[in-house]
Subunit: 190 residues, 2 copies
């Protein structure tokens, strides 16, 4: 078995996802994943702290994808522009070649309540962190919380549509469509 | 023990809430609640299907409070006006005299993960039902889903603030403040 090679992490992820889909998340062991990916369990644990981490690795990156462009915006940038920056950055994170992985991942999560809870917790945490970042950037309450909730809601709805079959439009288009709906909702005459 | 008397349901609720706060939700039995409220367990179960129902009774009423005013709106009412109708109706449901009950109830829920999940599930269900009602009233996608999410988010944020100490403003004022923030977010110049 190769001790290290480029792409081991990605191979472990795709192998794990295939096994989760075939035989269930709870029924799949780390030993099976490692064997099917032709690495040792030790190698698995160099990449992932535990089995769920295969699905949830990158939480810090995920949050930073929203918060970093807000932190880097010029002082005085209006809240809606900060939301747009965060969503633009998020869209970069979901290129076409990730769609099929995201679809398969969601199917695994939807089948296991504990994973669903963790996914919802991830979004709740993101709202809190983004709200903190907006306040640190000079956005007052209650606008900061409304902006954070709105950003994460638009993201989540765009993501849900992006992975729905047979959707083919790209992530950014779906974000724009939802932002336009929000604008139409609040100011139907404009 | 009185077999029936006016206010039994409310007395069971306030007694249960006091016991949950004093000794914990999991540690409190239906027998204790009934005894402390001076009724039989049989009487408790005439009012509530189980112990959590003391906290979650009225789910149907809760959902209808949002959906009924939408169903009854004239055809062609813009989506934002439908959202306002739903939120106005919700505000009627939280008069001043309910604030202290709502604060105590939330403290119990926050302490028990299973209750927190159920509360979140209640809001998730409300989003789905309100979205269905908006679509049935002629609002297209993705506007209907955005409107439902927005309504429930504004409701939830207003509610969270309403029960925060030492908030004293009424529910409707807090809803209006958050709707104004949303309007300011989407159209900062207006």
């Amino acid at each position: 078995m190769a001790r290290w090679q480029p792409g081991t992490r990605e191979r472990l992820q795709s192998t794990a996802l295939r096994l989760f889909a075939e035989q269930g998340f709870d029924e799949t062991t780390v030993a099976q994943i490692a064997a099917a990916a032709d690495v040792t369990e030790r190698t698995f644990f160099r990449h992932f702290a535990d089995k769920p981490e295969v699905l949830f690795a990158g939480q810090t990156d995920f949050t930073a994808m929203f918060t970093t462009p807000v932190e880097q915006a010029p002082d005085g940038t209006p809240a809606f522009d900060l939301v747009r920056r965060a969503l633009d950055s998020a869209a970069d994170f979901f290129p076409e070649h990730r769609r099929s992985w995201s679809r398969s991942r969601q199917a695994v999560i939807d089948a296991v309540p504990a994973l669903e809870e963790r996914e919802l917790g991830k979004l709740a945490n993101l709202k809190v962190r983004l709200g903190d970042t907006l306040r640190a950037h000079g956005i007052d309450e209650p606008l900061a919380t409304i902006a954070a909730e709105t950003a994460v809601t638009v993201f989540h709805l765009a993501f849900t549509q992006w992975i729905a079959e047979p959707e083919e439009r790209d992530f950014r288009t779906l974000v724009e469509e939802r932002l336009a709906a929000l604008t139409a909702l609040v100011h139907p005459g404009h």
